[in-house]
């Protein structure tokens, strides 16, 4: 046989297999149904002689496809979900019914497969329901809300319709049976002819059959309604979860934005402060160099006569310089500023201390009524503005920076 013929023969064989469409072959007893999620076998559902079997599978991944196969591998039902949503299908498998429901969430998905075996007495009723609603497996709607609401409305309508039929049938039955049971006025015995009795029996049997069908339809509708309600509740839960998650996310984003703004500000201040440190370090190095030169130039025995400040400067190290150390530590927000101020006469010491405390000042020497004060000024406030503000205080007499300053300044 030529290669092309082999391929053609194989193609014909496959086409003939496809013509026996999956799911329509009713000969095989369902038996053990295999459930495949995303093309992986995740379990089996025993349907032998059972009227109702349910399998629920939850997975940490989103569920894209669900396939139901018989033990021989025949595909009898499937459903695919393209994205995060709920989807449900009711598939006839011979006289039986297979319900597949997929519920995908952000954190995974779940599948519920329900098998309803057809009882012998229910076969007609089931087929009647299927005939009445052959397109129940129309799961694609623009949104899941619309789907749920529409399904609920449809189910409610069906239930209402079934109840109405039930009422009409019951009414007719009561019309027939009522007069017989409520025979208050004595009624002469009526001879019922045999053929009339047979007709009546037939009618009754027909009525009974209709009633059974209606009841079964109603039962099915109620079951579907309950399932829809459960799914609606799940959808609400999922939406609530999403809303909560969104709120938390918004909150976190806000906080992160705030932190980023603060970090930007700190970085800007840090860059300015680094320039200031350079200046301070240069000044310190200059002062130290000058002091060392001075100390070297002086005789040893005169060192005791040096001014205290100069002596202090000769032993300075960059780390022990209070201004530099503090400014380095507090650099991102504050800069030290030392000044002298005098107060009006007869100002109580307590008022003076209160003011110094108010401006977060640190007092140093007091020289002839002049108080040496050091404060940490925010970068946004210049020393001049600060001095002007101080001068406006009623108890302040005068403020100056020139009387005595730290060597750093």
């Amino acid at each position: 046989m030529e290669p092309d013929d082999v391929a053609d023969a194989y193609r014909r064989r496959l086409l003939s297999s496809l013509h026996v469409q999956p799911g329509l072959d009713q000969d095989e007893d369902p038996g053990s149904l295999q459930i495949f999620v995303n093309h992986e076998c995740v379990g089996a559902m025993e349907c032998d002689e059972a009227t109702h079997a349910v399998a629920s599978i939850t997975q940490p991944r989103a569920i894209q496809t669900v396939e139901i196969r018989t033990a021989s591998g025949r595909l009898i039902g499937s459903l695919c979900a393209q994205d995060l949503r709920m989807k449900m299908a009711r598939l006839p498998v011979g006289d039986h019914v297979l319900e597949i429901s997929i519920h995908n969430r952000v954190d995974g998905g779940s599948v519920q497969v329900t098998y309803h075996a057809a009882k012998l007495t229910m076969k007609q009723a089931t087929s009647a329901i299927k005939d009445a609603h052959p397109k129940t497996s129309r799961p694609v709607m623009p949104s899941r809300f619309a789907q749920s609401v529409w399904s609920n409305v449809t189910m409610m309508g069906r239930a209402g319709f079934a109840v109405a039929i039930l009422f009409l049938v019951a009414d007719r039955l009561s019309d027939r049976i009522g007069p017989a049971s409520h025979s208050e006025p004595p009624v002469p015995p009526v001879t019922v002819l045999p053929h009339e009795a047979a007709v009546s029996e037939k009618a009754m049997a027909r009525q009974e059959e209709v009633l059974i069908r209606v009841m079964q339809a109603q039962e099915t509708a109620m079951r579907t309604l309950q399932a829809q309600q459960q799914m609606l509740a799940r959808a609400h839960q999922a939406i609530e979860g999403l809303t909560r998650g969104q709120l938390q996310l918004t909150d976190r984003v806000g906080r992160v934005s705030l932190q980023m703004a603060q970090l930007d500000e700190a970085a800007r201040v840090g860059r300015a402060g680094l320039g200031r440190i350079d200046t301070l370090a240069k000044a310190e190095r200059g002062a130290k160099q000058a002091a060392v030169t001075l100390a070297q130039a002086m005789p040893a025995d005169l060192s005791g006569t040096l001014p205290a400040k100069v002596a202090e400067l000769t032993t300075l190290s960059p780390g022990s310089f209070p201004g530099i150390t503090d400014s380095t530590r507090d650099l991102p927000t504050l800069a030290p500023f030392t000044f002298w101020m005098s107060f009006q006469e007869n100002t109580p010491e307590k008022s003076i201390q209160d003011l110094i405390q108010e401006i977060h000042g640190r007092t140093g020497q007091i020289n002839a009524g002049w108080y040496n004060v050091e404060v940490n000024l925010p970068q946004s406030q210049t020393p001049d503005l600060f001095v002007d503000a101080l001068k406006k205080m009623t108890i302040v007499k005068s403020v100056t920076t020139s009387l005595k300053t730290t060597s750093a300044r």
């Binding site: 013509h19 999956p22 496809t65 033990a71 021989s72 591998g73 499937s78 497996s137």
Partner: protein
Amino acid sequence: MVDRRDVTARLSQLVMTVDEYERLMTEALPHLLNHATTQTRRFLRETGQWGDDVCHEKLALRWGYELVERFLMYGRTEIPCRPLFFLDSLIAKYFSQPEPFCYDKELLSPLGRFLEGLTSRAVISRDALMALFYHLYGFGQSQVAKVLGLGTTETQRVYKNFERWRRSGWQRAVDEVGITREDLMEIESHKRRYPDQFHAEADRLSRIVQAHYRKSEPEHFPCLSRQQWAHLFKEGYGYDYRVWHLALCRDCLSEVCDVHQDDSQDVLTPQLDLRIRPLLNGRLVESYHSVDH
């Protein structure tokens, strides 16, 4: 040509009802199979796995067939839809999986295709899965029941599966993977004339195939240690796991047989002993089309 264009146009239009869909599918099946086969061929070409020979053509046909089979079922629940677009989306999604097919040049030989077809069928058919114990190791019903530790009920079910597989399952699997009567005769002839070579080749190829298809198992079905297997059998749980995993993992099967031997049970150590045809009523299924499909 005009017909084909007409069918293509109709497949691209919106189908609104199940009846309309099924009518269209019946008419368009050859076209759908061609379309899926062409897409599969293109995928194989683009991934450097194509060769212009009948083996590759059969592979493309087979995988195209499997895609169309799924499409026919999925489509019913996707109405209203444009069937051709939906088929394309299914194909694209399937090909986007890591290693969607078990492709190896060595698997293109009749023996390779037989082993690959048998194992791929076992992934979707429980009957074929159970039958793997027979085809690979020659285990009969009682031996399978012992190895898997099955109870009476499960054993009866296995027996039913064996029977169904013997009567129709094997033939259908062989047909659908494209194994011809000549292929079967070639495999059997090779086995008869060069048993050692045949055994070595079957051993190697079956490991490749099993490793590929075992990946489709759920994540919580890994290989177990000897102690874990012993515990599983002692406590009597994980029946699905035993069947699935042991049919597709020779190393674990050997571990389990050792565990049973430690418990003084009369269980054979699994040795690859490839059986091509199933036994039906005590004799091999000889005639290619002698059994019902």
